[in-house]
């Protein structure tokens, strides 16, 4: 089984209603969460939050694992799923410095407040969309770039990738996704566990040096030259933090049910047994016979 990935030329048009039963996010109905639903008192208090456009990567995951399920294959056995039964995507909220000077460092920010401490963290990936070298690319530069990811505060190297400065980002040269393993950034600290009442930001820093390995005093490369500039990016091209968790709870819907305040549904009593006494007598007589 292959890992579900986003092709470089992945279609970014809105979902169609007929697309495997998925909901169209362009139908004018703003999405909301179960928690939001419980908090609302009525239609007058309803304020539509910004629309969520599902990332193509998540749609690809869903399609791949759904097909596997229909074939009787447990998707958690896939290498790409890391044995997780929950995969949460967080869209980057960081912005690049708009000044024309070289972009030496980037800070990627993710609000991980909604991660539950009841779930076991089994993996995390930073997915960056690398655009094809364009006007920003310095034609004079050749050789390799060593791109590194580390937590903003510690500077400890989490993962790195090496690629050619003018290497096409994909076969179609339109761009491609680069994946970094950032599990270590979440594992030791797990900030959302410490202060659950406050929004928790995960900050990851990206930088690049020439060559294949980190060397002291080596100048940092301009990340725009590497196709990592974040100016005017479409939603589908924004960086993604993908967190893989394994829920220990058996009844996964109970939390959602509580949040939706659906307990009043229990007021509906089950219908009475309609079997007549006479029928019972006949049945028991027949059984004895």
């Amino acid at each position: 089984c292959q890992q579900a990935t986003i092709p470089a030329d992945a279609p970014t048009e809105p979902l169609r209603e007929s697309d495997q039963g998925m909901r169209s996010r362009q139908d004018g109905k703003a999405p909301r969460s179960p928690r939001d639903a419980a908090a609302r008192k009525g239609p007058s208090a309803w304020a539509p939050p910004p629309r969520v456009e599902p990332h193509e990567y998540m749609l690809s995951l869903y399609r791949t694992y759904s097909i596997a399920e229909k074939l009787g294959i447990n998707a958690t056995f896939f290498q790409s799923s890391k044995a997780a039964n929950t995969i949460t995507s967080f869209v980057d909220r960081g912005r690049d410095d708009l000044s024309p000077s070289a972009l030496r460092r980037q800070k990627y920010l993710f609000d991980v407040s909604t991660l539950s401490d009841k779930e076991e963290l089994v993996g995390a990936e930073l997915r960056l969309f690398r655009k094809a070298p364009g006007d920003h690319s310095s034609k004079a530069q050749t050789g390799l770039a060593h791109v590194q990811v580390s937590p903003c505060l510690s500077g400890r190297l989490l993962d790195s990738r090496t690629w050619g400065l003018h290497e096409a980002a994909s076969a179609q040269a339109g761009g491609g996704w680069v994946v970094f393993d950032v599990w270590q950034a979440l594992q030791p600290h797990q900030p959302w566990k410490k202060q659950p009442q406050q929004p928790q930001q995960l900050c990851l820093e990206v930088r690049a040096v020439a060559g294949t390995r980190t060397q002291a005093q080596q100048p940092l490369l301009d990340l725009r030259d590497l196709g990592l500039g974040r100016g005017a990016r479409a939603q589908q091209e924004k960086a993604l933090l993908v967190v893989f968790t394994k829920s220990r709870r058996k009844n996964l819907f109970s939390e959602l049910r509580q949040e939706r305040g659906a307990q009043q549904q229990g007021a509906h009593a089950p219908p009475q047994e309609s079997t007549a006494a006479a029928q019972l007598r006949l049945q028991s007589r027949r059984m004895r016979r």
């Binding site: 969460s33 749609l59 447990n74 929950t86 949460t88 028991s284």
Partner: protein, 120 residues
């Protein structure tokens, strides 16, 4: 109640159905859950329906307890109810939804689809 003639064939009133798997089409839109569930918007969950009366068929995989309860019920229906027709095997489905932070989440929910029914 099934009425059988001496050849064991049904006639007369409509027969009570034995425990088996029946259709249960779930539409999240009708449930009002389409505001947070992205996909699927509908799926076939199935449900178990029918009676677990004596003699229990082997394909219903009755537990020993269900066999005894069914026997007790057949001897004296007033003393013990029949055993229950319930799902004996369930499978998961994948759901894509938005969480409280408007993040898109893929989750595999266990026990969402009935694969088989039996008497318990």
């Amino acid at each position: 109640t099934a009425y059988h003639n001496r050849h064991g064939k049904r006639h007369g009133k409509k027969a009570r159905l034995r425990c088996s798997k029946k259709a249960l089409h779930v539409n999240f839109k009708e449930l009002g859950w389409d505001d947070w569930i992205i996909a699927p918007l509908e799926y076939e969950a199935y449900h178990c329906e029918g009676v677990c009366d004596f003699p229990l068929r082997s394909h219903l995989e009755p537990t020993n307890h269900a066999i005894i309860q069914t026997l007790m019920n057949s001897m004296d229906p007033g003393s013990t109810p029949p055993s229950c027709c319930v799902p004996t095997k369930l499978t998961p489905i994948s759901i894509l939804y938005t969480d409280a932070g408007n993040n898109v989440v893929y989750k595999q929910y266990e026990d969402m689809v009935v694969e088989s029914c039996g008497c318990r």
